[in-house]
Symmetry: C2
Amino acid sequence: MNGAEALIRTLVDAGVDVCFTNPGTSEMHFVAAVDEVEGMRTILGLFEGVVTGAADGFARMADRPAATLLHLGPGMANGMANLHNARRARVPLVNIVGDHATYHKQYDAPLESDIDAAASTFSGWVRRPMQTEDLSQAAAEAVAAAIGPPRQISTLILPADVSWGDGATPASAVPPRAGATVADDVVERVAKVLVSGEPCVLLLGGAANREAALRQASRIASATGARMLTETFPTRLERGAGVPAIDRLQYLSEFAVAQLEGTRHLILVDANSPVAFFAYPGKASDLVPEGCEVHLLAGPADDSSGALAHLADRVAADVEPLLAPASRPDRPSGELSAEAVALALGAVLPEGAVVIDEAATSGIWAPGATAGGPKHDWLTLTGGAIGIGLPLAVGAAVAVPDRRVIALQADGSAMYTLQALWTMAREQLDVTTVLFNNHSYAILNMELQRVGANPGPKALDMLDLSRPDLDFTSLARGMGVEAVRATTAEELTDALERAITEPGPQLVEALL
Amino acid sequence: MNGAEALIRTLVDAGVDVCFTNPGTSEMHFVAAVDEVEGMRTILGLFEGVVTGAADGFARMADRPAATLLHLGPGMANGMANLHNARRARVPLVNIVGDHATYHKQYDAPLESDIDAAASTFSGWVRRPMQTEDLSQAAAEAVAAAIGPPRQISTLILPADVSWGDGATPASAVPPRAGATVADDVVERVAKVLVSGEPCVLLLGGAANREAALRQASRIASATGARMLTETFPTRLERGAGVPAIDRLQYLSEFAVAQLEGTRHLILVDANSPVAFFAYPGKASDLVPEGCEVHLLAGPADDSSGALAHLADRVAADVEPLLAPASRPDRPSGELSAEAVALALGAVLPEGAVVIDEAATSGIWAPGATAGGPKHDWLTLTGGAIGIGLPLAVGAAVAVPDRRVIALQADGSAMYTLQALWTMAREQLDVTTVLFNNHSYAILNMELQRVGANPGPKALDMLDLSRPDLDFTSLARGMGVEAVRATTAEELTDALERAITEPGPQLVEALL
């Protein structure tokens, strides 16, 4: 078999059986091999930012990597912003980046570029096999490196002749490793801090945002009086009625500082020490309060859930977790606002929904309105590179086809990777997109004030999306996705309720 | 004044007075400064690939650089594919990439990434001033480096605090340099080759594709019997009635090999030695025929037009250039095909048009049908990274507002940077887009055969755009651009004729 066939068989054998693709000429043998080897599902994206964001969404919900197939340096570059987000999400992901044949690179053909240098900026593992017989083993190691722990991005650069060369054999999957058990003395040290009576915050992130870990953290918090917080932008937060509730560290650093004020011990569980998202003149970058000690319970390579369980047994032996009670807001009425959209979502949220939140300023009411809704997952923009929402929704829907994906999407960021709607239509994914159309980069209008800048008309024009207005129902229909427009809270609620029960994708445009 | 204000004044004083922007929080002081300093026109793109492709199009038509304003590493990454194309086009371009404040980088905030490494893959000049007082001089040098010669991409990484810091003063523009005069002995050597009686090809590229240089090349060809060819994908080719006609080196290497067969001397004038675009099993990568000598008359840093004039005086003293005669095809009728679109374009092409060609397989008839049309420019996809057409059209229309820009755009590649339509609407640019909708990545269907792959249903599905069909009239209207659909040759010709006389942007969708 040729290299491409052995590569695909190796990936499938290692559990990577979904590949989001946007191929070109140098990937044509991979494309052809997909029919020769059983078991690989390929999903086309019309732009690489869709492909990479979808692989991220898949990994968040499937807890295993998908592959991407990208076309040389420029194809990878088009996917880099969402690969940045995936890196920050600490998800496993395997990029296959096609490149010129090994002997062709010397000619500096038009598509030649330094793939290795660019890939290294977001990948934890990069390799370029130079011979067909080395390809399968590299692929098996790419998957293992992606799975970790810690989870990370692997990028396998695939020269065309390595792909089309013959005599390849598939490689066996590398046996998976478990997360490292956190040492007893680390748990003991944190336990002492927790029972000291001094104000403690448990800052959870990554794998510690899943229900099992949250339950242990809640026991600890209940027993010791420590507060629980999660990262500002969680990769995947399990929440809703019956799951311990947890506040997110606020995006605006002024508020985050207020949240953390008085904290004497900050205990990190698969989370980074809190820092401001951006620097602002005269404001702090490091958000750890003065005099507060930072303790690491578990990092991304550790078994954070096990560490929390161990810690809970130590400090909260007979304590039960505090679970969010069931509650839903009433259906909203009257004028349509971002808050009304949130209430509508809370009123109709289905069991097991996956909520993708790239609503930016329009989304601030949504977590509150859904806190007591049926159990669901909440996925956010982890790396600040806008344009993740719709691609994430694609990947999540592929990973959990029996669940409804609801994408809360701001207008400005939607325009970065709107092509994801086409993939939703092609694959008939159960994704309901709620498009908040407020005709502006509202968050930048806010940030412009916060950095202390004094905007004039040209500046404001650069943050305005109203000349001309974007019509998202036309845009969605242009890509084969049914769309309706809502101008009142009632219309929005009805449209949303209908959309989440219909198979396939729909878009509801909320005109704010 | 603050750093941002001094930066903008420095850019404007150096002749950079258009900035294509997609800013974020770290660029807010730059955004605000645009109102404080006279003379900088800012043009918003809804995606960075639009921004960078527009800067390329501007440079091709204005012969001077525009600036871009990009948001940290991910914003730059989104613009990288078209920066790759701009690098291959050898246009001057100045990127301003906002970054975290110098003191904030240590905290590895979510948007932190290695901008320097990624920028180095496409930039000839990269600098990161660390103090406000160093910013203006760096900006002046960035512009000078971009202008060259050789022309190249400069990337100025702008930490937020360097931008907002006070006490800056603008820097003076660096005096421009002329292209190097090609030495007499180089000209003499090439002259001897040309008059040797052996088969010669003059391969023109870059600046040698402009009318003045083409006229000199044509004199040389007429006098010596040498053939003229231009690069496969010219940055900007002046052509039409009254300009010497020149064939392009074919994209398909089989045909390029046939074009070059028997050539004994290949004379490069601001062009690279010909290589295959991709490697194919069993086919040559280097397209120079065996036994053919390659001679460099002028490189990108040289005055290639001057060298051609010198050479023409030496070998073609009394010879006139051979100019393309005026001729137009008849208006086509009947079934709509890519060929019919080309004939329609030839029939109605206005004087001074700027044709942007990203029509891929659908565009192959267009050059022939317009060869005798009124004088016009032809701009192509220089680096193989699809998604350049509509952004190039934006930039070209900004650069030459008195001329009609006609974008010949394939469907698959249109979907990479379709957001450019919104900028056309906002700026009311005189751009007529002809959208070839053939419902597939037709070029990849061809390439799949050429690489010798044997496609099955999954493979073919990855190259198909018909499930669902893209409706480009809906998509265009969703971004505020008037659009019509043509299903016959007559409809297409009428729609195109009407569109090119109306102010502002229009899209004509050719259903093939």
